[in-house]
Structure formats: C-alpha cells, structure tokens
Subunit: 203 residues, 2 copies
C-alpha cells in the first residue's frame, strides 16, 4: 500500500513512527494523527521524554544497566546480596528477572552476546569488566542467564573459561518444563534436558 500524503510534515511524522519496532504504515498514521489531537504541551512532553532519555540516561558503572545515576539503584541498594551476580544480555533481561521477585543479587549487563556472524566479539561486550568485578573479591557466585542459542552457549562457555582461574562458583538458570505446561506440548530438547537435570522431590 502506498499512501500519498497531502502534507510532507505528516509524511515525515508517519515515517518516524513507522521506524519503531512492530509499527506498520497504518498504525504509524494513526499515531501521527493522534498527535494532532493532543495539546501542544502533551506533544512537547512526549517528544522531550524521548529526547531526554537519549541525552541524559547513563549506564551504571558497575553493572552497566541503564540508570539516572552513576551507580544504579540495584548496585547501590544495601539490602541486596552483593555476593551474587547474574549475567544477562541486556537491560530488558534485568527488568524481566526483577519482575519475578525471586532474585536479590546484583546484575551484570553484557550489552549483547558473542556472535561471529554479526561481528560481535568478547571485546565488544562487558566481559573484561565482569572478570575484574569477580577478581575484586566480593562475588562468590556468577549466574549465567543468557539465551539458550548457539551464541548464548558460546558466550557462556567463554565467560566460564575466563572465570575458571578465579575459583568463583558459576551456575546457570535451570532449563526444564515450564510451570503449568503439559509434557505433551513441551519440545523434546527441553524435556530431554529436564530428565537429565532432574531435581530431588520436595513436598
């Protein structure tokens, strides 16, 4: 579908919205026309909150998650277990794990995973800073929570090899049948792993 907009301003705004992930031309037009229905202050608030995020957001100097301050609220919290560090790919994963309410340790955001195809090597990621962080002594366990893909496995293995000399305990997330899922609909790889890594029954 090609739309011939009666206004270059409209056309530009539609293109801007259509550049967002998951937004097509029709939704983008709806968004642009929606902006025209808002007050000038509302539009100003909308655009400035996005501009400010880009201009003012920092990354925590310890765990590299997004933060307004030099040290993020998680790293600077006094109630969190500083001996545990969970290694994740990106900021979204931090929020997802936080959301479970089951984790009280710290994080380390790599900013990606090793991917030779995309030309991402260990030097492009926050791996050296993780090794230094562990070497500084306070950390006793590193939990690997990277995706279960070829790239994730490669990154896990690389980090494991780099951490080995330090003697720190390295664990990874349990993989198995999702809670509430029927065995029938669980994929074979997951089910196979869940048999190999079975855990003692606790009532």
């Amino acid at each position: 579908m090609t739309l011939d907009y009666p206004s270059i301003l409209l056309s530009d705004a539609v293109s801007a919205f259509a550049s967002l992930p998951g937004v097509g031309k029709k939704s983008a037009l709806r968004m642009a026309l929606g902006m025209l229905k808002r007050s000038e202050e509302e539009v100003e608030q909308f655009t400035s909150s996005i501009a400010r995020l880009k201009k003012e957001a920092h990354y925590c100097r310890v765990c590299h998650t997004i933060s307004d301050t030099e040290l993020c609220p998680i790293c600077s919290s006094t109630s969190r277990d500083k001996s545990l560090v969970c290694v994740v790919e990106n900021v979204r994963d931090v929020l997802t794990i936080e959301n479970t309410g089951q984790y009280n340790g710290l994080y380390h955001v790599l900013g990606g995973i090793i991917s030779p195809i995309e030309g991402i090597g260990p030097r492009d990621l926050e791996i050296d800073s993780l090794i230094e962080r562990v070497a500084s002594g306070e950390v006793t366990e590193v939990i690997l929570a990277l995706p279960t893909t070829m790239e994730g496995d490669t990154t896990n293995f690389y980090i494991y090899r780099r951490l080995e000399p330090s003697g720190v305990k390295v664990t990874q997330l349990a993989r198995g049948v999702a809670v509430g899922n029927e065995l029938e609909y669980t994929d074979e790889v997951t089910l196979g792993r869940s048999i190999i890594n079975r855990t003692p029954y606790k009532s």
Copy 2:
C-alpha cells in the same frame, strides 16, 4: 505486570510510547531501549518530525484536511473535478479513498460525526462550511462517505436536510457484499441491503 524501572528517564520514555494507540508496556519498553541504540541525530530527527507536525501542520481552509499550505494539494490541483465533494469524517478517510485511485473530486473533512453521547453536535463539526461551500455554486454533487453507524446515519441525515434547499445532488457510498467475499460469510444486514440496492448487470 508491573516493571520497576531502574531509571526515571527510562520510565518516562516508556510511558510516552505506551500512550500511543495500540502500544502496550512491553512494546513501549522495546521502543524506548531501541531509541538508546540510535544515534543522537537519529533520535533528534525522530522527535523533531513529531514536534514539527504538531507545530507547523495546517488544515486546508477549504476542505479542512491536513496540509502544509493554506490550500491543500487536492483543492489546489487543476486536474480534479471541482463539482464533486466527498464528505468524510477525518483525514484518514481522505487517504483511504485517495488510495483507491477511483476518485478524482474534492473532499470535505468534518472532523468527526454527530454524537450526543460524546457531546459532539453539528456546531463542533465543519458542517456550516460545507453548506457555504455548496452555496457558492461550483459543487453539483455531494457524496456522503461517513461510517455506517447510528452516529454516521444521524450525521448523513442532518447534512442531507441542510443541503436540501440548495438542490445539490446528494449521494452515498454503495454498501454491499465486499468484492471477493463469499455470501456465506457476509453479515445479514449487508446482504439484505445489497439485495434492496441491487444494480443492473454489466458485462
């Protein structure tokens, strides 16, 4: 799902994106984090194209569609049939009809339809300007292309009554079975209307 963001800047940007139509919290987070991956110029371009739309866009003084100029490209075109005026609810409808490539007349954007529930009366819409436009003489046919809802029907009827004294021809879009649709899946009201308003067979 409640996400506790480690950054107020991030949280504000997520709220901004989540205020767009059809965007949930998870997509909004993806959009906000996506902004962080863009260059500063790209983000500036994104926000300024939206801000400019709001600040600089005009509405055509004749047909009230969105336009960069006082008179929109459609109204100022010399190749369009100025005796035909198609009455639509909003700018999106103009684009949708333009997209068919089947219409060469002009438009009149009401800016809404009569809706007592939402407190929208004829005075809130561009109806008076339509009557004046028709009274000025050039228009010979007004095509009503409003939605087939109670409000659309009310607005159609109101406009028809206001236009009656001028003697202008008033038509409406053909309603019937969609091209390519099976009778079996056509709703009864549409099918019923398509029988009543059947047209001569042309080979």
